[in-house]
């Protein structure tokens, strides 16, 4: 069967009323968390994981993907109207978008963001559908050493390639890896660092860590800055319709943003935030109205918003085909798959084609839902921004603990929530990135298993790791991704890298 047939079959699954409902819940929640500053898609998926234990696996995963997509849409609203990005991938949108809103052009800014997200989401999801089977074929020749090399590359790009300091990124990563060795070793059954505490034998839950770092850490951080008062929301004046000139200036950035975002997301090269920064830079160089940049150039909204959605779709390529999460949200979605006993990877396309293609097809439908949610209904979402911060964060913390209590109401688990929350606060305060900890925790055991498998096969011969061109090439790229940015920073050219610091998604 061709991809097209699979996709049609997937559409059959996706049009099931229950699945449509899951998708709708996902995109609605996703838009809401995208709009609300302080919570992002990674956190929301983490919060919802325990709640979906008893639900349908396909539906739950579709809901999670919907949250990811929705977060990318919703984030632009906050950036444009509030100048506080709803999530990290929308930081650049705030640069031009907020200027447009100040000039009374908030409507067209929101429109170009939503339509750009739609165009990019649609194209990138189709690209995902047509690319995935090829990568699956490629993945079949992957042995443990190639997987290990890929994971090393993912470690490096998540922690050290971007951000303001190689040292801080690596510190976060190794803290994550240190947490990852807690529990029973998957290969030998040996308990490690559990100190006789039975709750630790299962290892540290990804959801507990993610919720603690993203929700508790963020709440502590925001609260500790003192009462700054709520920022002013710029009302949407006039209609959200774009003029002819807006359309003419927007469509090329949409396509360029998609072309930049999708590969960035698909390669283990970081997430949506990086894609949106690169797209912004490209638009700034290519524009015919350079004087408008910094004062509300529509290209500066259209491009990055398309790029971050395309990157979100791109992230699903390594996640679905290789089981390799390259962003925090993807890492938590992987935990979601594992919760249902599913291991994403080439095998999943063979064992659960209905689920995979249903998921991909649902994303196409979710895009249409999101367009409706984010254009005609935009004024409803803006209302969310008027929730007073005390109630907002009190609610977030209540939900944060709800997930942990629901899975495992033990004092050990709740203490971990508190300790990791404080750690998240401290890391935020001192500029240590959070995502590498989460990615290290989930990828660490996987990388260790692949390494030890590869070495078992070669009977302890370490040169096996570089004995195929593919694995050697991947390790070389990883090395370059570690050394080159460090060298740039050392030469004092790190400003650009610091800007593209990925925080969360």
């Amino acid at each position: 069967m061709t991809t097209f047939d699979f996709l049609l079959q997937g559409l059959g699954t996706a049009l099931d009323p229950m699945i449509l409902l899951y998708a709708l819940i996902g995109v609605t929640l996703g838009t809401a968390v995208g709009v609300l500053p302080g919570i992002g898609p990674a956190l929301t998926v983490a919060l919802l994981l325990p709640v979906t234990y008893g639900l349908d696996p396909a539906g739950s995963l579709i809901m999670f993907a919907g949250i990811y997509y929705g977060g990318m849409y919703g984030g632009s609203t906050t950036s444009i109207l509030l100048n506080t990005p709803g999530e990290s991938a929308s930081i650049v949108t705030a640069l031009e978008g907020n200027q447009m809103a100040r000039a009374g052009r908030g409507g067209p800014a929101l429109a170009t963001a939503a339509i750009g997200s739609f165009v990019a989401g649609l194209l990138a999801t189709l690209a995902l559908a047509f690319l995935a089977p090829h990568i699956v074929k490629l993945a079949l020749v992957f042995g443990p050493r190639e997987y290990f090399a890929l994971m090393v590359l993912a470690f490096v790009t998540v922690s050290a390639a971007f951000g303001d300091s190689t040292m801080k990124g690596l510190t976060s990563l190794f803290v994550g890896l240190a947490l990852a060795v807690v529990g029973i070793d998957g290969l030998t059954g040996q308990a490690r660092l559990s100190f006789g505490v039975p709750q630790l034998l299962d290892g540290i839950e990804v959801t507990t860590l993610a919720v603690a770092m993203f929700a508790v850490g963020e709440a502590l951080f925001v609260a500790a800055q003192g009462a700054g008062g709520q920022e002013k929301v710029h009302a949407i004046k006039g209609s959200v319709a774009m003029t002819r000139a807006d359309w003419a200036r927007s469509w090329k950035p949409w396509l360029r943003g998609t072309a930049i975002g999708f590969p960035i997301g698909a390669m283990p090269a970081g997430g949506a935030d990086i894609a949106s920064f690169l797209s912004y830079g490209t638009e700034k160089r290519m524009t015919r109205h350079p004087e408008e940049f910094g004062h509300g150039a529509i290209e500066g909204v259209a491009g990055p918003e398309a790029a971050n959605n395309a990157a979100a779709a791109g992230t699903l390529v390594p996640l679905l085909t290789l089981g390799l999460p390259t962003t925090a949200t993807a890492a938590i979605m992987l935990a979601g798959f594992q919760q249902f006993g599913l291991q994403p990877g080439p095998l999943l396309f063979a064992t659960a084609p209905q689920l995979v293609w249903g998921l991909i097809a649902s994303l196409l439908i979710a895009n249409f839902m999101l367009l409706v949610l984010n254009l005609p209904l935009i004024r409803l979402w803006v209302k969310l921004l008027t929730i007073p911060r005390p109630w907002l964060y009190a609610g977030i913390l209540l939900f944060a603990t709800l997930g942990t209590i629901g899975v495992n109401p033990s004092p050990v688990e709740l203490s971990m929530l508190m300790v990791f929350g404080l750690m998240g606060y401290f890391m935020r305060l001192h500029g240590y990135p959070i995502a590498p900890v989460v990615v290290g925790l989930i990828l660490g055991p996987m990388a260790e298993q692949q390494l030890r498998r590869a070495l078992s096969i070669s009977q302890g011969d370490w040169t096996t790791l570089v004995s195929t061109p593919l694995s050697a090439g991947l390790l070389l790229v990883a090395l370059l991704a570690l050394v080159v940015p460090a060298f740039l920073r050392w030469r004092g050219k790190g400003a650009v890298l610091a800007q593209i610091a990925g925080d969360e998604d």
């Binding site: 060795v181 040996q190 709440a219 009462a227 009190a394 209540l398 709740l414 260790e448 030890r452």
Partner: protein, 163 residues
């Protein structure tokens, strides 16, 4: 508020040295645990204990890097932090942790809600506590009763939802 607040951890490089100490301590812990695992690695040559040891070495290298950086650059002045809201939130979490079993989800979580609201400036407990408990009860109803998540019940839950 006052300048005294800038004293703790803001000496030149103070934060970096502090982080270095933590990393080194974590490294020692991993090394100790890694070395105490008897496993010899079998065919692979590396076993359960070797990864913790490797991570321990990396953590020490990072600790050394922190020390070096702290000596060379000193620490950057941090934006002033308010300690009180942090205490409120941590206190709320601790209270929830302790009171969850004896008093049930709703009261314990309502307290957390009120404490968090207080951390963000809503200090009137007689308003925020009832709101929090009410909200937590609704959450309990939805998640425990409808979505079959197992939340610890207390007096209030048994009274309203009937055990």
């Amino acid at each position: 508020m006052s300048d005294q607040k800038n004293a703790d951890g803001r000496r030149p490089g103070g934060a970096a040295f502090f982080v270095a100490a933590l990393l080194a301590a974590l490294g020692c812990l991993l090394l100790w645990q890694g070395l105490s695992i008897p496993d010899k690695g079998g065919y692979a040559g590396i076993g359960s204990g070797d990864l913790p040891i490797f991570i321990a070495i990396c953590l020490w290298l990072l600790a050394a890097a922190h020390v070096w950086k702290g000596m060379r650059e000193g620490s950057h002045r941090l934006p002033r932090q308010e300690p009180l809201p942090v205490l409120f939130i941590v206190g709320g979490l601790a209270m929830q942790l302790i009171l969850l079993k004896p008093l049930g989800f709703s009261i314990a979580s309502g307290l957390l809600f009120a404490c968090t609201a207080a951390a963000f400036g809503k200090r009137r407990i007689h308003i925020s506590l009832p709101i929090g408990i009410g909200f937590a009860l609704v959450v309990y109803g939805v998640f425990d009763r409808l979505l079959q998540l197992n939340l610890p019940a207390g007096v209030l839950e048994n009274l309203i939802f009937g055990g």
